[in-house]
Amino acid sequence: MSFLKSKFHHPRLARNELGLTHRDYEGSLSTLCAGCGHDAVGAALVQAVFELSIPAHKIAKLSGIGCSSKAPTYFLDQSHGFNTVHGRMPSVASGASMANRSLKYIGMSGDGDTASIGLGQFAHVVRRRLDMTYIVANNGVYGLTKGQMAATAERGSTTKKDNKVLWPDIDLVTMALELGATFVARSFSGDKEQMVPLLKAAICHEGFAFIDIISPCVTFNNHATSTRSYDYVRDHIQEGLIADFVPVTSEITTSYDEGESNDICLHDGSVIRLHKGSNGFDARDRLSSLDAIHKHRENGEILTGLLYCDPTYRDMHDILNTTETPLNSLNENELCPGARTLNGINNAFR
C-alpha cells in the first residue's frame, strides 16, 4: 500500500523561487524498511529538486523492478512516474525522452536492475548519451527476494545467510566511464551533504549523468561480513573531489584560494566548483578518473564524489538532429504529407 502524507507543515518553512516548500516535492509515505538507504537518496533528491526550483511536473521519474525501483513513489508526487519491467527502465526512458525532450528524466535503479538483468540496457543507454540522471541505489543485495547476492557485491564477502560471494563484482562507475557517460559520480546514502550537490549537478548536466550511491540494506546486507554495511562503507570511504553546486542565478560569495578550486561550467550556466581533496585527480580527464578509482580500490577504499564531467559533449537529440519542439506535440499539419504527395508516391510504383 502507499499512504499519502499529511500536507500540514510549519508556516515558516523555507520556500524556493517557485514559492514551494520542500514538502511540496515529497512523495507518498515510504514502505521501505526503516533505515533503508534508499529513503535517504529520495530525501536528498527532494532537497536537490526543491533547491533547484524545478517544477516537479517537468520531471518524469522512471524505474525498473526492485526495492530501489519502488522508491520513486516516495518522492516527487507531482512528477509522472513509471514503474516498468525488471532491467528495462533505460529503454523506456529513451523512448520517453525521444517523445519529449523538454522534460527532465530521472531514472532510479538498483544493483540487480542495472548490473544484472539490465546490464545490456544500461550499457546502451550510456552509449546513447541520453539526457537523464541515472541513479543506482547500490546495496549489493536483492532485497525484494530476501537476500541473494548482487553482481555488485564484492568477491569474498558473505551474505547474511553466510553464502560466500564467488564471482568478481561489476563496478558500474568504471563501466559508465568506459562507455562514455559524460557525468559520473559515486556517493553514499549516509552522506547527504555530498549527495545533494552531486544530484543537483547531475540534473542540470545535459547528457547522461550517472550516480552510483552506496545505499546499505539494513535488513539483508548490514552484517559484519558485508562490504556494503553502514559501518564498512564509513570505514572505507575516501572522498576524492569535494563538489559544490553553484546554481546559475546565485551570486558567488565564497572565495577559495587560487589553485584550490576548479570550476566546471554546465550548459545552463550553473557551475560545479571542485575543491581538491587529498586524492586530487582531474575530473575532466577520463583516464585520470579511472586510474584514481582503480588505485583506491586496490587499497580497499571506495572513492566517492564527482569522478568525471564533460559538459561539452552532444546528447542523443543533438546526435539525432531532433526538432526542438517535443515530438509528442506535433500533429497532422507537421506529420502527414497529404494526399497529393501520396499520388506522386503511387506513380513511382507504376
Partner: protein, 614 residues
C-alpha cells in the same frame, strides 16, 4: 511434343545464385509485364545467407487476376545457376521451356524430351562484351531479361524506359544496361522462333493498381499515421518496414525552417529495448512503433504485457515468418497468431490487425496509431514475409486529407482544471477507456504513477483483490469496445447464402477468387469471409452461425486462427474445419480448393461456373 500455348497466363521461374545482382533484373522483368497492363505477381524465394546459395524468383502472369502462387511446376525456367540445374530442369512443366546458359555444355543426362531447351551462350557473350569481371556477372542478368523479352513478346521499349528510371541520376549506367538488353533481345530474335507459344500481349487489366511490397506500404503508412518515435532491431523480414519509414521521413519529415527531424529513430541493442523505446514514447504522448518478426515477438512479450496493463498506446508491426533460428525463417508463415493474441504473462489480450494487401498495409498501419491511442493499448499489425517483402499488385495507396488523427482521451491543462478529481483508471464514459495525461501537463493535477496491475482507479498502489478484479473487468470492457471499432471482416462479394463458409485472413485472401472459381467448376458455391482484426467483431460469430460447415484457412500447422475462433467465440470445433499450409511457401488456390473438396459435406449443384476472376 506439344508445347504449352497460352496468352498472358503463365509462370516463369528464374533460378539464380544469391548475391549475383539478379534481383533487380528480375524485378525489372516483372515490372515490364505490369507496365504492359497484365496482372503480375512476383515472389522471391531466397535462402538465409549473403552469397552463393541458390535463389529463385517466380513470376506469375495472369490476365484472370489470379495473383496467388500457382501450384506445381513453372511453364518456363530461366536457369542461371549451375548448382541447381538438375533440379531446375526437373521442375519445368511438361510442354514448357528451359532457357539456360549454353556457354558450358549441359549434362546430356539432364535432357528431357517433353520440354523445349533454349540454350544461349550468355557467359561467352558477356566475356566478349565486358572487361571487368563484376560487370560480366551483373550484365548476364540483363542479357537474359533482353532474351526473355523477345521470347515472350515483351515490349523492349518498356524495358529500356525501366532502365532509364532505375538509373536516374546515374545516367552513365543507362547505355551499358540498354546495350545488354539489346544483346539478349537480338540474340533471341536471331536464334529462336519468337515469340514462343507462351506469350504476352498488352492489355488494360491492371487499371490504377500499383506494384509495391507490403513493408514499403507499412513504413509509409506509419509516416502518414503520424508516427514520430521508432525503436527497432534488425530482423528479416521486418527490417525494411523501418528502413522505408526512415527513407520517407528523410524526404517528407524534415522541418523546413530548422532543417531538423520531426521524427526520432533508434536502432536498439535488442528487441526488448526496441519495444521499451516505443512504450516509453507512447506513455509520453508520441505516436511510436517497433517492427519485428517471430523471435522478436517472443522477446517483446514481457513488455507487451506491461503495455497492456499499464494501458500504453504503441504499435507493433509483426512481419511473420517461419521460425525459430535461421534458415526457414526466410520463408513465409502466419504462425504468430496465437502468441500475439495472448502475448505476455498474466491475463492479457492484444489487438491484432490482419492486412491482405499493400494498400491495406498502408491504411492499417496509419490507422493503427489512431486505434492504439483511442484504446490505450498495443496494436499489432500482422503482416508476413510474402506480403511484406514481395511486390504485390495492389490498389493504389489512398489518403483522405480531411482525416484528423484521433489522439484518444487525453486531458490538457485546462481540462484538468475543470475536473474535480482526476482518476487515471476511472471509467468515466463506461466504455472501459479512461482519461490519461502526458507528463508535464499541469503543476499540481493529473500526475500519476504508471504500473502494471497493482493500482486503484486513482493509480494509487494497491494489492486489494476487489480493486484488482474491478480493473480487470474494466479492461475486459475496453476490449469489447475494441471489437466494435476495429476494422470489420470483409464478406466475399459472391456470397449467396451457401451452407458452407470459408474464413481466411492475411495473404490467404489473395488465393480466394481463384479458389472460388475452382470450386465452382466442381459445382460448389461457398461463402467467404476475410478476418481483419482481433478481438473478433459480432459479424465473425454471425458468419459462423449462418453456416453448417466452415473451413478456416491458416498458414501454420496448428490452425491458430481456427483455435482462436473456438476459444473466443465458444464455437463447436467439429463445425470449423482446419485447412493448414505451412511449408514456407505461400498457400495456393489449388491447395485450398482440394482441401475443401476433400471434406465438404454439402453436395455439389449443377450450375454454370461463374468466373469471378475475369
Amino acid at each position: 511434343m506439344a508445347s504449352i500455348t497460352s496468352l498472358n497466363e503463365c509462370v516463369i521461374r528464374f533460378a539464380n545464385t544469391n548475391g549475383t545482382g539478379s534481383a533487380s533484373a528480375n524485378n525489372m522483368f516483372a515490372k515490364a509485364i505490369f507496365r504492359m497492363g497484365i496482372p503480375v505477381s512476383p515472389a522471391n524465394i531466397f535462402p538465409s545467407n549473403i552469397q552463393g546459395m541458390p535463389t529463385w524468383y517466380d513470376v506469375r502472369v495472369s490476365a484472370q487476376d489470379y495473383m496467388a502462387r500457382r501450384e506445381g511446376a513453372p511453364d518456363i525456367v530461366v536457369a542461371m545457376n549451375a548448382q541447381s540445374m538438375a533440379e531446375d530442369v526437373e521442375n519445368v512443366r511438361p510442354g514448357g521451356f528451359f532457357f539456360y546458359d549454353s556457354s558450358r555444355q549441359i549434362d546430356p543426362a539432364l535432357m528431357r524430351q517433353d520440354i523445349t531447351f533454349l540454350g544461349m551462350p550468355i557467359s561467352e557473350i558477356c566475356l566478349r562484351e565486358y572487361k571487368a569481371p563484376n560487370l560480366r556477372q551483373l550484365f548476364k542478368n540483363v542479357v537474359y531479361v533482353g532474351a526473355m523479352a523477345a521470347l515472350l513478346n515483351i515490349d523492349i521499349k518498356i524495358l529500356k524506359d525501366l532502365v532509364a528510371d532505375q538509373f536516374k541520376g546515374k545516367e552513365k549506367l543507362v547505355a551499358p544496361n540498354v546495350h545488354a538488353l539489346d544483346l539478349g533481345f537480338q540474340y533471341a530474335l536471331t536464334h529462336f522462333k519468337c515469340p514462343l507459344s507462351i506469350r504476352l500481349e498488352k492489355t488494360n487489366k491492371v487499371g490504377s493498381r500499383i506494384l509495391i511490397n507490403g513493408n514499403t506500404a507499412t513504413g509509409l503508412g506509419a509516416v502518414y499515421g503520424g508516427a514520430t518515435v521508432v525503436g527497432w532491431y534488425p530482423i528479416t523480414p521486418s527490417t525494411s518496414v523501418v528502413e522505408n519509414f526512415e527513407k520517407y521521413c528523410k524526404r517528407l519529415r524534415i522541418d523546413p525552417a530548422s532543417g531538423k527531424n520531426n521524427f526520432a529513430i533508434m536502432q536498439a541493442e535488442d528487441e526488448l529495448s526496441a519495444i521499451g523505446i516505443a512504450i516509453g514514447a507512447g506513455w509520453n504522448g508520441a505516436r511510436a512503433f517497433t517492427a519485428t518478426s517471430g523471435p522478436g515477438i517472443s522477446l517483446m512479450s514481457e513488455f507487451l504485457g506491461l503495455a497492456y496493463f499499464a494501458e500504453v498506446p504503441m504499435v507493433l508491426m509483426n512481419i511473420q515468418r517461419a521460425g525459430p533460428s535461421t534458415g526457414m525463417p526466410t520463408r513465409t508463415q502466419q504462425s504468430d497468431v496465437m502468441t500475439c493474441a495472448y502475448a505476455s504473462h498474466g491475463d492479457t489480450k492484444q489487438v491484432l490487425l490482419f492486412p491482405s494487401s499493400p494498400a491495406e498495409c498502408f491504411q492499417m498501419s496509419a490507422q493503427s496509431f489512431d486505434l492504439a491511442e483511442r484504446l490505450q493499448t498495443p496494436v499489432i499489425l500482422m503482416s508476413d514475409l510474402d506480403l511484406g517483402m514481395n511486390d504485390q499488385l495492389s490498389e493504389e495507396l489512398s489518403w483522405d486529407d480531411k482525416h484528423a488523427y484521433d489522439r484518444g482521451k487525453v486531458l490538457n491543462e485546462q481540462q484538468l482544471d475543470e475536473v474535480e478529481q482526476f482518476g487515471r483508471y476511472l471509467d468515466v464514459d463506461g466504455d472501459g477507456i479512461c482519461y490519461r495525461t502526458y507528463p508535464g501537463t499541469h503543476p499540481d493535477k493529473g500526475s500519476f504513477f504508471t504500473r502494471g496491475t497493482s493500482r486503484d482507479e486513482f493509480a494509487i498502489y494497491t494489492e486489494k483483490g476487489d480493486e484488482y478484479v474491478q480493473n480487470m473487468q474494466r479492461l475486459e470492457r475496453k476490449f469489447e469496445t475494441a471489437a466494435e471499432i476495429l476494422p470489420k471482416p470483409v464478406l466475399h462479394p459472391d456470397n449467396s447464402g451457401s451452407s458452407t463458409g470459408v474464413i481466411y485472413y492475411g495473404m490467404s485472401d489473395v488465393a480466394i477468387a481463384e479458389t472460388f472459381d475452382l470450386l465452382a467448376e466442381q459445382g460448389h458455391f461457398i461463402d467467404g469471409m476475410c478476418i481483419k482484426s482481433f478481438p473478433f467483431s459480432q459479424t465473425v460469430g454471425d458468419f459462423i452461425d449462418a453456416h453448417d460447415q466452415v473451413f478456416v484457412i491458416d498458414q501454420n500447422r496448428e490452425g491458430q486462427m481456427r483455435k482462436l475462433l473456438i476459444i473466443e467465440l465458444e464455437q463447436n470445433p467439429a463445425k470449423l474445419v482446419k485447412v493448414t499450409h505451412y511449408d514456407g511457401m505461400p498457400i495456393t488456390a489449388e491447395f485450398i480448393s482440394q482441401s475443401i473438396l476433400r471434406d465438404i459435406i454439402a453436395a455439389p449443384v449443377k450450375r454454370a461456373a461463374k468466373r469471378t476472376g475475369s
